[in-house]
């Protein structure tokens, strides 16, 4: 579909009344976002902290398990 008869390009401050302007996000003025850098670490309840600690232990155990399995598959233990 040819959109050209329906649209024309112009600066945002020249838009006539009862018309809409569509600006590409990369051409638009940067809008203010949430300033996360000043927030610091997320406040957590004790249960969330313990859950994350358990998750950390689980991930370390799984990582070691995978490492062992991959080394085993590579035949390192068989050669010794």
């Amino acid at each position: 579909m040819n959109l050209m008869p329906y649209v024309r390009q112009m600066a945002s401050d020249e838009v006539p009344e009862n018309h809409f302007i569509v600006v590409h996000p990369l051409d638009d003025i940067a809008e203010e976002k949430v300033d996360t850098s000043s927030l610091g670490p997320m406040p957590m309840t004790r249960s969330v902290k313990y859950s994350l600690f358990a998750l950390r232990a689980y991930l370390i155990a799984m990582g070691l398990l995978v490492a062992y399995h991959v080394i085993d598959l590579a035949g390192v233990f068989a050669r010794q």
Partner: protein
Amino acid sequence: MQEKVLTIEKTGTEAQTTPRGWVVRSKWMHHLLTFLMVFGPGLIVMEADNDAGAVSTYVQAGAQYGTRLLWLIVLLLPVTYFIQEMVVRLGIATGKGHAAMIYQRFGSWWGRFSLIDLQLVNFLTLVTEFAAIALALSHMGVSPRLGVPVSAVALMLMALTGSYRRWERITMLLCLMDLGWIVMALKLRPSAAELAYNSIVPGIPAGGITANLMFLVIAIVGTTIAPWQLFFQQSCIADKRLRFADLKWARLDTLVGACFTIVVAGCMVVVGSAARRHGISFSDPAQMANDLRLIAGEGMRTGILLLMINAAVLGTTAISLSSAWAYGEVKGWPHSLQLPVKKAPGFYAVYVLCVAAAAAIVLIPGAPLQLIILGVQVLAGIMLPSAIIFLQLLLNDKEVLGDKYVNKRWNNWVNWTIIVVLFTLSLILAAQVVAPRLFPGS
């Protein structure tokens, strides 16, 4: 005319410009044009997930169980959409990438863990992408020693142009090439009634729950929802500088991408099931393409091989970028595709290094590719549930998202259900690694 200063956050570049846009008279045209301008990150993240590993997994699923597992792929549509929609909200609200958010809100241990795990899984995945390119090229009579370096250079040039829009247009064109899978599937004349039934009615294939079936189910889930997608889409949205007003269009972009990806994945299963119907057994999709030539002609063979390369190229550019963006965010380097190479050398260096090293490993004779493929599946399976837990916690963070963008109660129910299912699959995978005879053999 009023001059306005446009500042690109975190990149340090400044440009004086008056915002220019397209003026339209009707509201529907306004909506259509806005959507087209926002359209991109959602489609790319979803379609790039149908990478070389996904092609292999889906055609294997078709070859082993016909179209019986289509319901599982359909079930993954809302799952993948819900997860990526959260990323969209987070990206638009903060204008920052996922890696930066984990560092800022959960501290350096989790930040480092996420970054190292992401880089490791991404790199191993990239090796499998180039392995697929080498395989497809060798079946087409092109030496991988020539084809792989040429592909790597093309992938580097795609991103090094200093224009986000150029990269996005090229990548979206590659995404649309995946329509070829639909053509291939239709050419093989599947039974429409069987497809509809198997897409809607869940069921276990004949033979019951075997080790093979469990592994394939985990592989399908793992290939449809991958950790790099979270990091990629949030960074991509931040790089494209999507605005709060773009949220509904970014959601639609993600939904369109999810639907397209699931349809394409279903077509890959159909192609695999056609091979099974004709008694063709294969070890990889390239071999399947060769054998399908006898049934569906030379076009089918060439088409599948080209689509394999396309899938690998799409996966490579998206995965390498997710690594480069994440590294740039954490290191505080300028990290935008809008920047020329000299203004973001670290960001582009990570991208180039990922592509070049993965391509080089594939060219080493006797490289342990099977071991790498196994490593990708297992590490991704381990990483995914924890990555989604962080996403879930971030999406409940009112300090960051406020009341408007924070998860609603129903969001949390859906997401915790997804997390429980993913953790269960992750534990089954772990159990299979420890005790391979846990489930009966196929």
